[in-house]
Symmetry: C2
Subunit: 339 residues, 2 copies
């Protein structure tokens, strides 16, 4: 059994004390260049890496932040997460990713796990979750921020965008094209404030022109192509048939596209379809989706900076609201009777 080199081995090798070796690693400028060189040589020769456990124990800090996302199998989180990770990595902190499958119990369990691993800070998606989760975080006095959502008077540090406003903007655009018979294929709203916000936004816009958004023209489905296909089918079977379907995200829109075509209709000539998020999929389908563009990467980067700042300065986190915009492609046009 080839024991890993310890700080002790390094110190002997370099002819200094362990304290000096430690300083070379954590505060290099506090040690004379020559000594440092000797130490660094020893480190290199032995292939020494500080033991994570020892370090965590002594410093009570892990250089780790945890994030719990609903699922890895979704490009919308992947993009922002990637950026978050890169920024953290550039500051020598590791990102621990766990998934909850949109289930608050699972999420709580994952938070516990992450906490148990001594993360220095934590990020969660959205704001809607049972109070236990927030309680836990506050008991542990661990800094955390919420992502992908924004509410001006949220009680928490939150870096995201206003899903409601963005959805309203999109619905306004659909109205501007002349649609009056509008359906919404939304995400499942239980413990998902983004999905809720997007519905409310659409409802706001429609209400302004005295249109009511409700079942059966409002339907919820999981964020998968297949489930959305089925849900969109149901929407298209209604009388009168909607001339536009506003979807909770791009994956749902892809499913809806499929459903429209499957019914022998054309997008956008017979039915318009719009998405949300602007993931790569939005450009891959035919016709490419008119959708809400979200600055995923910028959000991720800013979130990372904020996290780092909270860890290092103990300051409370900010609330930060990102602007979204609508990217027009070809899946939205005027309704058939106005052609």
């Amino acid at each position: 059994m080839n024991r890993l080199p310890t700080i002790d081995d390094v110190s002997r090798h370099a002819g200094v004390s362990t304290a000096t070796v430690s300083r070379c690693l954590n505060a290099p400028d506090q040690v004379r260049p020559e000594t440092r060189a000797r130490v660094e040589a020893a480190v290199a020769k032995l292939g020494y890496t500080p033991h994570f456990g020892g370090r965590a124990l002594a410093a009570n800090r892990t250089n780790t932040v945890g994030v719990v996302i609903p699922t890895m199998a979704s490009a919308m989180f992947a993009l922002g997460l990637q950026a978050l990770q890169e920024e953290l990595s550039a500051n020598n902190v590791t990102l621990l990713v766990a998934t909850s499958h949109y289930d608050p119990d699972q999420e709580l369990k994952q938070i516990r796990t992450l906490l148990g691993r001594g993360v220095d800070a934590m990020a969660l998606i959205g704001e809607a979750r049972p109070d236990d989760a927030y309680q836990l975080l506050q008991d542990r006095q661990i800094p955390y921020i919420l992502l992908w959502s924004y509410r001006a008077n949220s009680a928490h540090a939150i870096v995201g965008f206003d899903n409601r406003a963005a959805a309203r903007q999109m619905a306004d655009r659909v109205l501007a094209f002349g649609h009056r018979n509008i359906a919404m294929l939304a995400g499942v709203t239980t413990w998902n404030d983004r999905a809720v916000g997007r519905i409310e936004g659409v409802r706001d816009a429609l209400a302004a022109v005295d249109i009511d958004l409700a079942a059966p023209y409002l339907i919820e489905a999981p964020y998968s192509v297949d489930a959305s296909f089925e849900a969109a089918k149901a929407l298209l079977a209604l009388t009168p048939r909607p001339t536009a379907i506003i979807c909770g995200n791009d994956v749902q829109a892809a499913g809806a596209l499929h459903a429209v075509r499957d019914g022998g209709l054309a997008v956008p000539d017979d039915v318009s379809v719009v998405g949300f998020d602007d993931i790569e999929l939005a450009r891959a389908v035919e016709p490419p989706l008119t959708t809400v563009q979200v600055p995923h990467r910028r959000m991720g980067r800013v979130a990372a900076k904020q996290l780092l700042n909270m860890i290092n300065s103990n300051e409370p986190g900010d609330r930060m609201n990102f602007e979204t915009s609508i990217v027009e492609r070809r899946s939205l046009s005027s309704p058939p009777n106005r052609h």
Copy 2:
């Protein structure tokens, strides 16, 4: 400052020694039920969670496995990873995910980071990488497996599928439809044995009927819709124009689909397009892709089991080859002249 409860607090609370508390957590059956109940009550009341660092230090084990993938922004890894994670999680081990952006230097750096965090085992994607990486792993005596690839005489534990054989099978299918003018839009092959294998497989099949696969009918592009769009454009500009484009994965196929349409042609009537991986995207595009179905989830689960076994038993890992199959959808048909 609200100090976290330690094992000591629990032991005092329960009126037992720290050793007993520890046993309750790690070997519950070695302690009398009544004592255990007292301890568990104390744990619950105090909200105690073992300190990760202390545990790692004392046990020299972290219940952690690390994996380095090229990128999170790809559904093909997400699927398998999700399954891997679930299986590990069910066994109380946490998965640490890092990304390399298809860059071996980055990968090596990430391996170092993971190693520094004391992962008990490690998984890497594919087999092609500089020797330093393997060296490092072996020096550290840490079990590792390779994923998403398979080679019978690989020197490493490897759980995946034979990319070459799968690609050959696909190319054979394309040939069986009567295509003789076949192009390939491949992934970038540098340090990517999956991309290489897929090219070789296609080449094998074509060579068997005396067709040579080479530039300009073979072209490499990054795994993105946009880059693949451009590359496919180039392919379609060739004379004679290929009647079928075999793509390195589904994302590339989506780009190719786009390019064909953009040139005023139809899939599959004018040009057939086939993909690889069978991610959700394959069913979302129009026409849905004929592609290679890979058992991502099963692979992930098996990989996790293997990893756990290597950790617990110190046995060397197996080599495990998964079967792939072709799922026929609508993007492949006979070439135009045979209609």
